[in-house]
């Protein structure tokens, strides 16, 4: 599996993503935001951070970077694209995912572990998880409050595109367990064809027992299982 991790000015989770993909046996390269070709990559990952200082709106300026045009083409041709945190915000701004991410209801930057439920396992990003599995994954964001109108939410629910939802330790969807006020407790969702996933929690920060959780590894193992010829 050949993975490209895009670095924008202000990305700060690009090395974590690089390491996470490498950990499951991937051949990883950084893609500078000015690069124009994505030839040869099996997966493209957009990392967390504060691209362009989050000026205007989080992700609004990154999405007009030269590399984004190719990422849109790559995604439209069925190439898997994973956007985490700021990467999720960029995917929404680029129109690859519907809806928008606005300021957390708490008005605070929320940096802590949360629990989330794996609701959809029929994606290249989650096939190695069990449906209904509860993961403990860190979040670190100020604008992760997923906003969409009622019609879009109904469509997302009906089409099974909500992949991860914030829940409490027992797996229940409650207001207290929702760290940012996201509609329908949405923590991650896919595009219509299922090859673009955006999520606010950071699976790449949950890859080592010593750091508290290995629950994020399933995302990378799933991609490796679906795209790799390398025996893990």
């Amino acid at each position: 599996m050949r993975v490209g991790v895009v670095t924008f000015p202000g990305s700060n989770c690009d090395y974590d993503l690089y390491k996470a993909a490498q950990q499951v046996g991937a051949d990883v390269e950084f893609i500078w935001h000015r690069q124009k070709s994505l030839d040869g990559y099996d997966v493209v990952m957009l990392p967390g951070g504060f691209s362009y200082g989050d000026y205007l709106r989080a992700g609004a300026i990154a999405r007009i970077s030269p590399v984004m045009e190719d990422i849109v083409g790559f995604a439209e041709n069925g190439g898997p694209v994973l956007g985490i945190c700021n990467g999720f915000q960029i995917l929404c701004e680029a129109g690859l995912l519907p809806g928008a991410l606005i300021r957390n209801v708490s008005l605070r930057f929320e940096s802590r572990d949360v629990h989330m439920l794996v609701e959809q396992t029929e994606t290249p990003f989650t096939s190695e998880y069990q449906k209904g599995q509860i993961l403990r994954i860190p979040i670190a964001h100020g604008e992760g409050n997923y906003e969409a109108d009622g019609q879009l939410l109904e469509q997302l629910e009906a089409e099974g595109r909500i992949v991860f939802r914030y829940v409490n330790r027992g797996g229940e969807m409650t207001e207290e367990a929702n760290p940012n006020g996201s509609r329908n407790s949405i923590a991650g969702l896919t595009n219509e064809s299922g090859n673009v996933l955006g999520m606010m929690p950071h699976p790449e920060r949950a890859m080592e027992e010593i750091l508290g959780s290995v629950d994020g590894m399933g995302v990378f193992l799933s991609l490796a299982a679906n795209l790799s010829t390398v025996v893990l």
């Binding site: 300026i61 606005i102 300021r103 708490s106 006020g181």
Partner: protein
């Protein structure tokens, strides 16, 4: 050009809510709602005001406002002489 970008009606505006609480705690108790947007000022050369408005609206649709969460208003302000000249 002056561009006002405003949170769409009905959309939760946590920043407006926080300011609302602050104003209330300072004694202004008769406020029913506070909403926070942003103002963007652009110096632009154009044939006339209509063209300037059209160009600025195109900018809003393309990048300055997010249609999912924001509405915008555009007007010509300041030294319009230079714009119509």
């Amino acid at each position: 050009m002056e561009i006002l970008v405003k949170p769409r009606p009905g959309l939760l505006d946590p920043e407006g809510k926080a300011i609302h609480h602050a104003l209330r705690s300072l004694g202004w108790t008769d406020i029913s709602d506070v909403r926070v947007g942003k103002a963007i000022y652009i110096d632009l050369e154009a044939e006339d005001s209509v063209t300037a408005l059209e160009t600025t609206e195109a900018m809003c649709r393309k990048i300055l406002a997010n249609p999912v969460t924001e509405d915008f208003e555009v007007s010509v302000v300041g030294d319009t002489e230079r714009i119509t000249a």
